[in-house]
Amino acid sequence: MRAVDGVSFSIPVGGTLGLVGESACGKTTTGLMLAHLLEPSAGSIVFDGRDVTMLRGAALRRFRPNIQMIFQDPYTSLNPRLSVAEIVAEPLRINHRGTRSEIDHRVRGLLDAVGLPAEVARRRPQEFSGGQRQRIAIARALALAPRLIVCDEPVSALDMSVQAKILNLLRDLQRQLGVSYLFISHDLSVVRIVADVVAVMYLGRIVETGPAEAVFADPRHPYTQALMAAVPDPYKRSGVTPLPGEVPSNINPPRGCRFAARCPARMPMCEASPPSLHEIEPARRVACFLHHAIPDQDAVGRGTAA
């Protein structure tokens, strides 16, 4: 099975790439590969001009601090047996970043940076609300001063008023530290707030990518259009026609465009071969025959079953 198939994107330095799509589209798998928690079977990850895909052993250990991760569920991503200070200090200890007192000092600074009072250091995660736990997770991710943080649905488990606080915090930290984010989310209204560049995934492939403002103002791929129309917006109450059907299985994906079966603009050629992700104007790429007639030669050559 190809969970992620031929995905290419780049993340701006000090900026945010929003990776959006529904369940099983491959967004989390993509994030895990970037963080070197899963190994891609093909393709490359270039970090700061250097190919880091195949790093192993000591070289990989030296590289890992550059990319850290924040997970969706702050109830399972924090070790319940460690204190907050131990959780935030762990990456520093493992990477021998300073003496005990230097690490203590750094932990206090990190807790302050994420808006937690110093008193929380001795307490354990279960004493905190979801929003505060996510702050702890953010402090841990910042500990090694990474260049990139993979944020996998970081606010999806939080209440609305708490979500706003965490999104504002992530944005403030980016401004102060110049860190880049790969922000993975199923929620377009959240991605719209945080992303500079957006990539929309469907069944393991990117169907559209471009500057967030341009894509949100004028989505070109029929799937992006349907996804945006489906976001329930309190100020847009005229009923939209829901997209019919469900995402097909990616164990034996369709031969042509993977979205064709649900697409309101389907043409005969869509079922024959998949469209390539082609630049339709500067910085904007769309994989759809409505916008260009260029099939994805790679995918045609590869066939369908994996």
Partner: protein, 330 residues
Amino acid sequence: MRDAPLLAVENLRTEFPSPRGVATVLHGVSLTIGRGEAVGMVGESGCGKTMTARSILRIVPPPGRVTAGRVVLDGRDLLALSEGEMAGVRGRRIAMIFQEPGAALNPVISVGEQITDVLRAHHAASRGDARTRAIELLREVGIPDPAARLSAFPHQLSGGTQQRVAIAIALACAPDVLIADEPTTALDVTIQAQILQLLRRLTVDKGLGLLFITHNIGAVAQIADRIIVMYAGRVVEDGSVDAVIDTPQHPYTRALLRAMPTMMARREERLLEIEGQVPDLANPPLGCPFHPRCPAVMAHCGVQDPPLAEMEPGRRVACWLYDHASVRPT
């Protein structure tokens, strides 16, 4: 509809004893639902949405219990019924669907059997009739090729289809009221849109009273006729969807709407944060429970809890900003 609501909840109070004192999780909740009316209930975790649903059905987990109020269905107070009589109300008159359809369905029984079990338990239908009715129900909730789906097990179905099956089971006994507790929260947005449309259609076509519970104001706006906003076990605002969203009156409703990222918001706008946290229900603040976080707080707010006052027919708000007449001298 306002004169004879299908379901009327009056001053419902539900309490949980805890080591730190009694937590009042519902603090005098009142609401009505008419036939063919979809009422959306919104609020954040712990505000009492699910507890309202459980109190209506008398399935509050122990040691919690309903300590006051009435739940009137078609003129009959459900809280006064015997447990045996109440069992005849659950499922048959008031049905419920949940957030996780995978957890609500039995994993080792086929979809068809789960529906026919319900039909046979409540209506003593024959096996053949029950099967025919099960196929009809699956068709009604939009499952393609329903006869073939009867033999499927829940794990073979997608989340959206599982929720459709749960809705079919809930409809099996032709209930008057359907309570849907976060039914689309676990689903993808394109599937959520399908389920919202289905619930809306069923409400209108069958004249159901729908209580749609969610934390998602956007979802409620797509489906409901009316919105009820909950905070700390109380109804703080109630009105038509247009009124509550376009002219919110309670400072909490306003803050909630402004904290929400929407597709219309400008990117550079910072999201509004609501300072502080929801109160501890075992040790709530004096006066209005929102006053420690309220940007419009006045001296009186910390003294006395505002009543849920009717501003105009069908529009209620619990806030001293709008109810000077009933402010007692302090």
